[in-house]
């Protein structure tokens, strides 16, 4: 009898512990790269945004998980008839984590800092058209533009446009103080960053009290950490080959979504023989996208035919324009005076989409006579030689900035596409704020760069998230680099 009650007691104790584990109000999320620091307004590192975007810092507008832009610290806005003056009405009762109140002065400070001459904002171009930021009253800010810009509200949602406070700007890199739903707690460099719930948050308070970000760069270690349940979720899991194992395991859920990353086979348009359109076209016809997606990404990824995200409403499927056709590729090369093909270089940065994809691309090019020498480079080296030096033939890169088709209007951009018609198109797009005409212009732009075979368009990078089964509210897609904690909760 005594033994039986002991067993029962032990059983209920275990049940209680298990129950306790489910009702937990914290989460540990791992990511591959560690942020260099925590100021999203002075670096391009996506890892910074992953930690701080909308958790610690908020902008006037913000991205939601589905990519739409909604009001953030600005409650509402009015746009003048000519589209050059935006008047933002700010939310009331918003305070920074140090208790100081948020008002129009902070907005002016943040935007002026981002567009200043000595600004170190990695996306300074977002603010290029702003001629003045004026404080109308503590709750109202007026932004004046030199020309209408239909993308302003979108631009202001970027992590690079968040609102910071002048009082805490000096220590923002190591002790960020924002207005978001979570407060920065501490950072053990090389290991983790801890956040706690902001009890004075202006919006709906988040369900979880604590959130920890851990940094695990090695794919094998990432797999082990999930399997050992050391972490609750992995944002953008680095080893797609392991996903079927997580899918089969009832302890986990796999979230496959899309990112803003157009993965392209970049072509140096000014370097012979790529200055000949027929050669570029031959390159694109030599490529079998699905083989690359299957071989390098284990089937995760959506084929694209232009530099545009398939989940965007204005997307136009142009993959048929550069369908896999080795015969046609060979014919085009012969027509361009290169019947025996030619030799070039293929620079590959570290991510697996490039290194694994590059091997397949090189093999496919070899099949039509183009001999591409693979050169593996680190990111810093890639930036120096390919991006700035423009000494490359081909390269594979995923362009992860949202809505970045505008880079094709920059003739000095590393793939060196210089087409005045496209540049004029982008000027018209910037000036247009009517959704229907923007869609038309965007589709025209997609078709133009596809027809000019500027680059080989491979696939839209997938976002591969793995999480414990009970965790709800994770973003499936990545409209911007962010791990929005506000909707996270554990299922009962």
């Amino acid at each position: 009898m005594a033994l039986r009650s002991l067993v029962l007691a032990a059983g209920s104790a275990i049940a209680l512990m298990a129950g306790g584990a489910w009702a937990k109000d914290s989460v540990t999320i791992a990511m591959q790269l560690e942020p260099p620091h925590l100021d999203p307004t002075s670096a391009a590192a996506q890892a910074i945004d992953s930690v701080v975007y909308s958790n610690i810092f908020e902008g006037l507008t913000r991205f939601q998980g589905d990519g739409s832009v909604v009001p953030g610290l600005a409650e509402s806005w009015e746009i003048s008839g000519d589209g050059t003056v935006y008047t933002f009405r700010l939310r009331e009762g918003v305070t920074f984590h140090d208790g100081s109140s948020f008002d129009a002065e902070d907005v002016k400070f943040s935007l002026d800092r981002a567009r200043a001459e000595d600004s170190t904002n990695a996306q300074k171009a977002l603010f290029a058209g702003i001629t003045a930021v004026d404080v109308v009253d503590p709750q109202t800010v007026r932004i004046t533009l030199d020309a209408p810009n239909g993308a302003l509200l979108f631009n202001l949602a970027w992590g690079d446009a968040v609102i910071v406070a002048p009082e805490s700007i000096g220590s923002i890199k190591t002790n960020p103080i924002g207005t978001g739903a979570y407060k920065f707690q501490n950072w053990v460099q090389g290991d983790r960053i801890a956040l706690t719930r902001n009890e004075n948050y202006w919006g709906e308070p988040p369900a979880l009290e604590k959130a920890t970000f851990k940094f695990i760069s090695d794919p094998t270690a990432a797999f082990a950490a999930l399997m050992a349940e050391d972490i609750d979720a992995f944002d953008n899991f680095p080893a797609p080959e392991n996903l079927p194992q997580f899918e089969a395991d009832p302890r986990f859920q796999v979230l496959v979504g899309s990112t803003e990353g157009e993965t392209i086979l970049a072509i140096n348009n000014k370097q012979p023989p790529f200055d000949d359109l027929r050669v570029r076209q031959a390159v694109t016809h030599a490529i079998d996208r699905q083989a690359i997606i299957d071989g390098a990404m284990f089937g995760y990824g959506t084929p694209i035919g232009s530099h545009f995200a398939p989940h965007h409403p204005a997307y136009k499927d142009l993959t048929a324009n550069s369908a896999h056709d080795p015969e046609k590729a060979r014919a085009l090369l012969a027509e361009a005076g290169l019947p025996d093909g030619f030799e070039t270089t293929l620079h590959l940065p570290p991510p697996s989409y490039a290194r694994r994809g590059g091997e397949i691309v090189a093999a496919q090019l070899a099949a039509v006579g183009i001999k591409a020498e693979i050169i593996n480079v680190e990111w810093a080296q890639w930036l120096e030689t390919v991006f700035r030096g423009k000494t490359f033939g081909l390269s594979i890169v995923s362009h992860t900035e949202p809505m970045d088709i505008g880079i094709y209007a920059r003739p000095d951009y590393y793939f060196q596409y210089d087409n005045p018609a496209f540049q004029a198109l982008m000027t018209r797009l910037e000036a247009s704020s009517d959704p229907a005409s923007r869609t038309t212009l965007l589709q025209e732009a997609q078709a133009m760069i596809a027809a000019d075979y500027v680059n080989g368009y491979l696939f839209q990078l997938a976002k591969l998230g793995v999480a414990k089964a009970g965790l709800e509210g994770l973003w499936e897609n990545a409209p911007t680099a962010a791990i929005d904690l506000s909707a996270l909760r554990w299922a009962e």
């Binding site: 190591t174 053990v188 460099q189 094998t220 050391d230």
Partner: protein, 315 residues
């Protein structure tokens, strides 16, 4: 003796000076600019220039080398380009993981190697010796990261005795810290233990053939008694040398193990700093490791001279 010590000290200083120059040049020559890396592909040229000025990268290389070296002499390693925190602080933080890990691994490898080596020497040519030598052959051949992955698979994923990696920090308690370092320490220790066992065994066997061992046996000591009383002490000299070498290796060479177990140690810091072109961190950490190795060698040289008077006159 003093002359000898001064000579060694001079060569130590010279080595450090040459090392600092080589490290600086090698790191600076590698392509890649920290400011461009930080700002990514959309940055405007004026933004990159502004950041370069902020980081002091617009100064000439000679000026930067001199300010780095003079700073180090005063204990100031400069400020990290990416983290924007003092390099000295970062290194100190990481040493609190790497140093205990190296000591832990060394202790484990010694604890395994001593008994194994003595046992093998005592049973020379017999089954026990064969078994130990076979195991060490395997230990030397198999890379430590493979051991690490096997340990994770067995003890973290299947048995759940340990976490798969990470470090809770010493503030979580010494027990928790040691617990987190156990698997990495074992993974690091096994190959080292294999090497040390072989050294221990052969050192003991060498000693067993010496004249004084025969005298000890002649005095009536059994083979085992002679081994324990006279053999072991004399065999320790080469073994300690190897342990000294292994310590510097463990401190500097744990990069892969720190990646596998995602430990915030010195190796991981170098790894991150190299990919971010955080030049000053790379230079300072490498310099520190060179300093550690050269200093250990210097001390070992001095110790040899103290033990063996022949060395003093020869150099």
């Amino acid at each position: 003796m003093l002359r000898y010590a001064l000579k060694r000290l001079l060569s130590l200083l010279l080595s450090l000076a040459v090392a600092s120059l080589v490290i600086f040049l090698v790191v600076e020559v590698a392509p890649g600019d920290p400011a461009s890396f930080m700002l990514g592909v959309n940055a405007q040229a004026d933004t990159v220039a502004a950041l370069r000025a902020e980081l002091g990268l617009d100064q000439g290389q000679v000026a930067r080398y001199l300010s780095w070296v003079t700073g180090m002499l005063g204990g100031d390693f400069g400020t990290s380009y990416t983290y924007r925190t003092p390099v000295a602080e970062m290194i100190a933080d990481r040493l609190w993981v790497s140093l205990p890990l190296a000591v832990y691994a060394l202790a484990l490898s010694t604890l395994i190697a001593f008994p194994a080596g003595i046992y093998a020497a005592a049973r020379r040519g017999r089954g026990g010796d064969m078994a130990v030598m076979g195991a060490t052959q395997l230990g030397v051949a198999v890379p430590n990261f493979w051991f690490a992955m096997m340990l994770v698979l067995i003890f973290a994923i299947n048995l759940r005795w340990f976490g798969a990696g990470g470090f809770p920090g010493w503030e979580a308690g010494i027990g928790a810290g040691l617990h987190a370092l156990t698997l990495p320490a074992i993974a690091l220790a096994l190959p080292q233990a294999a090497i040390l066992t072989r050294v221990m065994r052969s050192a003991l066997l060498d000693i067993l053939g010496e004249d004084f061992m025969r005298s000890a046996r002649a005095k009536g000591l059994s083979r085992r008694q002679a081994l324990w009383r006279h053999g072991l002490r004399n065999a320790l000299i080469p073994v300690l040398t190897i342990i000294g070498l292994q310590f510097s290796f463990l401190l500097a060479g744990a990069i892969i193990i720190e990646q596998v177990f995602y430990l915030p140690g010195l190796g991981r810091l170098v790894f991150q700093a190299i990919s971010a072109r955080d030049l000053i961190v790379v230079e300072s950490v490498v310099m520190l490791l060179v300093f550690a190795v050269i200093t250990v060698n210097f001390l070992v040289d001095l110790a040899y001279a103290l033990v063996d008077p022949r060395l003093r006159s020869r150099t």
